[in-house]
């Protein structure tokens, strides 16, 4: 049994009275790329935010790199975050800084390295994502794919043990999306990091995943390798994986008291 980098233990998360995650259990093994699949509002982004410590669970616990995130105090959480990297959906680059300064920021903030060493490290990270020649550009001068690559260079600045990706392919054309996927695979292989990817882009998910889980209405429906997911006989999994127009997901949306709504009945 491989060693777990992250253990999600019966996590419950609510927003008001709405239960977003309902007793979720999940292990992410060291060195693997785990893809969390799910439709909009399924709770996958909330799960990612719980794993990076930006949100606290209402029940259960998350043990990451051997420590409970829910019980961490501020300095412990800061120490944990220095060991992880996060690529946000938009790249989340700091717009007032150049690409190089964005990548240098974690190094300047958390290390005592001299500026010359930081410059070299920034060039290495930017070369890894293919952006070295764009180091002096401002984020507003970059395309969507370049912003994500720059965000990725910043995420790996401190050589993290775990990398989290929030919708890495969202809003990108197929070629750029494939480039980002290849980058995720390369970083996983070259740096040996554990990767957790949240997405609903199936092509991208099948390219990068060692293992996949499908989240629906705050619960895990299924977990398996990409081949197991493709061959699943579960109607919901098949509809999600193959993007079918008929199935339990669409039936659920249609079944919401449409007639009652039109005629002013209950609901």
């Amino acid at each position: 049994m491989p060693e777990a980098a992250i253990q999600v233990l019966d996590v419950v998360k609510k927003y008001g009275s709405r239960v977003v995650l309902d007793q979720i259990r999940l292990d992410v093994f060291k060195g693997e790329t785990l893809v969390i699949l799910g439709g909009s509002g399924s709770g996958k982004s909330t799960l990612l935010r719980l794993m990076i410590g930006n949100v606290k669970p209402d029940g259960g616990d998350i043990v990451s790199l051997g420590k409970s995130i829910a019980r961490m105090n501020a300095p412990e959480l800061a120490a944990y975050r220095k060991n992880i990297g996060v690529l946000f959906q938009s790249g989340a680059l700091f717009n007032s800084m150049s690409v190089a300064d964005n990548v240098a920021l974690p190094l300047r903030e958390h290390t005592d390295l001299p500026e010359e060493t930081i410059d070299i490290m920034v060039k290495i990270k930017l070369e890894l994502v293919g952006l070295r020649e764009h180091a002096e550009k401002m984020p507003s001068e970059l395309s969507g794919g370049m912003k994500k690559r720059a965000g990725l260079a910043r995420a790996i600045a401190l050589d993290p043990q775990i990398l989290f990706y929030d919708e890495p392919s969202a809003g990108l054309d197929p070629v750029t999306s494939a480039e980002i996927d290849q980058l995720i695979i390369d970083l996983n292989q070259k740096l040996g990091v554990t990767s957790v990817v949240v997405t609903h882009e199936m092509d991208s998910a099948f390219r990068i995943a060692h293992r996949m889980v499908l989240l629906d209405r705050g619960k895990f429906i299924v977990s398996g390798t990409p081949d197991e997911m493709k061959n699943s006989q579960d109607a919901l999994v098949r509809q999600f994986v193959y993007g079918l127009t008929e199935g339990p997901l669409t039936a659920r949306r249609r079944g919401h008291e449409y007639v009652d709504d039109l005629l002013g009945g209950p609901g």
Binding site: R49, I52, N54, L77, A78, A79, R81, K82, I84, V86, F88, Q89, S90, A92, L93, F94, N95, L105, P106, R108, E109, H110, T111, D112, G151, R154
Partner: protein, 266 residues
């Protein structure tokens, strides 16, 4: 029952707002020494502070100077007929200097700075929330209070004091210009009156107010900016609320200060 709840909702919102703002300002005050003096991140801290001082203060100097020059001139023209009736036209300088140094200099400078820097800080912070930059800072173990709020609050406080001094001077020059050209008051006479009437406490109380106003403007702008929800519309709403709430807060705090100084005999 529902009506009673509806009545309490705005009161609860006000208490929540004041509580949140107080916590932010306390958090900022506690974080300041570490932000400027700790070994790591010190260079960035000072660099951030300089760039914010330039953005908040230096660029608003011409507007503050122009507005207070006009206010000094207006005050002189308004007071002149009344004081002339009493044969005290020279006292125009006295009235203007006390009014400007104790009250109008800091307050008007702060109102201009609210529109100039407060709105811009709130919009900037709100946009950073929407574009996930704040979340990214936290994910990189960088405290947004230390990295973003501290330099803005410090810069606005320091620059507000400097701008108030410039504004006070511009107001006096406004009054002096009108006195010289329209009221027949010799400029040397005007300056002598100004220095005779002004005491150190007038200058100091005005500057104390200015410093507090500066912290209030940026603290409120940062708080409302960081509380943005709902995308571009939320950013617009935070910007508007920053200007309106801050002007109300400035005048309220000014009243509290003026009352305190009055009863303390300052």
């Amino acid at each position: 029952m529902n009506q009673a709840l509806n009545l309490f909702r705005p009161i609860r919102a006000i208490i929540e707002f004041l509580g949140g703002l107080t916590f932010l300002l306390l958090d900022t005050a506690v974080t300041i020494p570490g932000a400027l003096l700790s070994k790591r991140g010190r260079r960035l801290g000072w660099q951030n502070l300089w760039s914010q001082m330039d953005r908040v203060g230096v660029k608003s100097v011409p507007i503050v100077a122009l507005v207070l020059f006009c206010i000094g001139a207006i005050l002189a023209l308004q007071m002149a007929p009344i004081l002339r009736d009493y044969g005290k036209i020279d006292s125009v300088a006295d009235v203007i200097s006390v009014a400007i140094f104790r009250e109008l200099g800091p307050l008007v400078s702060a109102i201009v700075l609210t529109g100039f820097a407060g709105a811009s800080i709130a919009a900037e912070m709100g946009t950073m929330v929407v574009s996930e930059e704040i979340e990214a800072l936290e994910a990189h173990a960088i405290n947004p209070i230390r990295f973003l709020v501290v330099p803005r609050v410090l810069a606005t406080t320091i620059m507000m004091v400097c701008i108030a001094i410039i504004g006070d001077t511009a107001g006096i020059i406004g009054g002096l210009s009108v006195g010289q050209w329209f009221l027949g008051i010799n400029h040397q006479q005007y300056v002598t009156h100004t220095f005779d009437i002004l005491k150190l406490k007038d200058f100091v109380t005005g500057l104390v107010k200015a410093g507090v106003f500066g912290a209030l403007i940026s603290g409120q702008a940062c708080y409302l900016g960081l509380s943005v929800t709902g995308g571009a519309q939320g950013v617009g709403s935070a910007t508007t609320r920053t200007v309106v709430y801050t002007i109300v807060a400035l005048i309220t705090v000014d009243l509290i200060f003026t009352s305190a100084f009055y009863f303390l005999g300052l």
